[in-house]
């Protein structure tokens, strides 16, 4: 299992600089800060399940940012410098490199968030709250998966292009578009299309597309599966099981495509 060697060495190298430690501290701070403030600003009853709804909005943006930043540089940086040639001169396949790097970077982010959640949930439960075990586990799983989605997107950008600069533009552009400009962009597209007269207004299609963005999907999963005080909308495209399918697609499809392209490309 040679990808595990890559994971160990990549992780050892990645966590060295202080900037990465600070970056990793960010989602942990959001979780711990949220857990500390939740009894102050939230409303009764204080449960770990409702805490999920309290913290999920900010956490999804921060996890996205950190995931993208951890991922975009991971392979292309070594490809540009030439360090990847040392790895690929050894008996490692390109798949080992991709898996090993993914496990390292996603492991760092997801591990940090899982650990912070563990402490955070204690803060929520003690002294006034109550623990709902299954829902808390579901939230932890979703949070870890969200981190993985964004590391995957960053890694996909890292595999698709040959320079760090392009990978940064691609990955950070993806982050900004999906996290901040998605609704506006879709509205503009909708308006543009209806101006041409080719298609009529279709608010449902636009809303469905809006609902497919990873942050929105994560929010719906939390609302549908974890937070008992929240609920998803009644439209078909807001169904939480559909959201789960879309979430898994985000996890697999972009990285799968990028990996396929990377396999066939010349790296030197």
């Amino acid at each position: 299992m040679s990808w595990q060697v890559i994971t160990r060495w990549d992780a050892a190298e990645t966590v060295r600089p202080r900037s990465v430690k600070l970056l990793l501290a960010l989602p942990a701070l959001v979780i711990l800060g949220g857990a500390y403030l939740y009894p102050v600003f939230g409303s009764e009853p204080y449960t770990t399940a409702r805490f999920a709804g309290f913290v999920s909005g900010l956490l999804s943006t921060v996890a996205a940012l950190v995931g993208i930043l951890l991922g975009y540089n991971s392979v292309v940086g070594k490809r540009e410098s030439g360090a990847i040639r040392l790895s690929l001169s050894l008996p490692h396949s390109r798949r080992d490199v991709v898996w090993g790097t993914l496990a390292s970077r996603a492991g760092l982010l997801c591990g940090t968030m899982a650990a912070a959640l563990g402490v955070g949930l204690v803060l929520v439960v003690y002294p006034f709250g109550s623990l709902s075990v299954l829902r808390s586990l579901a939230f932890a799983a979703l949070t870890v998966a969200l981190g993985a989605v964004w590391v995957n997107l960053g890694l996909a950008a890292s595999l698709l292009v040959a320079t760090k600069r392009r990978a940064f533009v691609l990955a950070f552009g993806l982050f900004v578009v999906l996290e901040f400009a998605w609704s506006g962009l879709l509205l503009a597209v909708e308006r543009g299309l209806s101006e041409t007269g080719l298609v009529g207004d279709d608010p449902a299609a636009t809303a469905a597309a809006q609902a497919a963005e990873p942050g929105a999907v994560f929010q719906r999963l939390v609302d549908g599966f974890v937070d008992p005080s929240a609920s998803v909308g009644s439209a078909w495209y807001l169904d939480e099981w559909l959201a789960l399918a879309v979430f898994i697609a985000w996890l697999i499809v972009p990285l799968g495509f990028a990996y396929y392209r990377f396999q066939g490309s010349d790296i030197a």
Partner: protein, 303 residues
């Protein structure tokens, strides 16, 4: 078993053919020097062997394993000093070597390997602080991990001072004595001449010669150069020397000095011919044609 078997390997980039139907066998246990000017396609061939790049046509095998389809197995018994690498930014020299031993599933001691290339004292320093020559030796230590059956080195003496280059050659000879096959590329002739059993010369993506150094010498005019100091020289005498079968070239230099490149057994004919022409030979020495002469003959004669 054949260590490296390359069959009609071709690599085309958008506008250039970097490698043009190259076929080559390197036998187990030999030291093979891969020679050619910069840009001839040496690194392209090595990149294809390492599966850094995919061939346009043809195939390459290392110990019978296809470099493209069974790349991992092909690299299992390989030690590599690639071209254009960089070290991992934030890891120590020792961590680098440990990475190699772990990856190869070898139980070699990292510090011992670093000692072999003279880096024991700096084992705990971050490798990005190393000088170019130290990095090159570090990567050699990584290549030596796990006692590879084949060492593949792309311009291994780049960045090394003369002592370092000699040290590198010493390590390569040791490895060869242990039984390892060695394949290295270079554009520096003396290095190839000093250690290689066989040489391949690459020019504009094509393999123009593969032979032993002796064989190459023979194929270029028998490899003997006569340097003659005559008392006096006439154009007629030079022309009649040129006309002898077995003489490739006769050049008049200052002095006057006559340089005759010829087959070994023609030396006497040359002297007799000069005697016939009334030229007295004051001094005479013979030189073996150097690899440099051969190299120039091959790489310029072809264009």
């Amino acid at each position: 078993m054949t260590a490296i078997a390359v069959d009609s390997l071709t690599k085309e980039y958008d506008t250039v053919t970097a490698l043009d139907r190259v076929s080559l066998d390197v036998e187990e246990g030999e030291i093979f020097g891969f020679l050619g000017p910069n840009g001839a396609g040496k690194s392209t061939l090595i990149n294809l062997l390492l599966d850094f790049a995919r061939p346009t046509a043809g195939s390459a095998r290392i110990f019978g394993k296809d470099c493209q389809t069974d790349g991992v197995q092909a690299r299992e018994h390989l030690g590599v000093v690639p071209e254009g690498y960089s070290v991992f930014d934030r890891l120590t020299g020792r961590k680098h070597v440990e990475y190699a031993t772990r990856s190869k599933d070898a139980d070699a001691d990292a510090v011992e390997l670093l000692d072999r290339v003279g880096l024991r004292d700096v084992a705990e320093r971050t490798a990005s602080e190393y000088s170019k020559g130290m990095k090159q030796r570090l990567v050699l230590a990584m290549a030596l991990a796990g006692d590879p059956d084949l060492l593949l080195l792309d311009e291994p003496t780049t960045g090394l001072d003369p002592n370092g280059a000699a040290e590198m050659r010493r390590v390569l000879r040791q490895e060869n004595e242990r039984g390892a096959t060695i394949f290295f590329s270079s554009h520096i002739l003396e290095q190839v001449e000093a250690v290689c059993d066989r040489v391949g010369i690459l020019q504009n993506g094509q393999l123009v010669a593969v032979d032993t150094i002796e064989g190459l010498r023979e194929s270029i005019g028998g490899g003997t150069k006569l340097v003659i100091a005559p008392d006096d020289l006439t154009t007629g005498a030079v022309q009649s020397v040129r006309a002898i079968t077995g003489v490739d070239d006769a050049q008049v230099l200052e002095g006057p000095t006559l340089e005759v490149t010829c087959a070994n057994d023609t030396k006497m004919d040359v002297l007799l011919e000069l005697d016939n022409a009334g030229v007295e030979v004051v001094n005479l020495r013979t030189e073996e044609a150097s690899l440099e002469d051969m190299f120039v003959a091959y790489t310029q004669g072809g264009t």
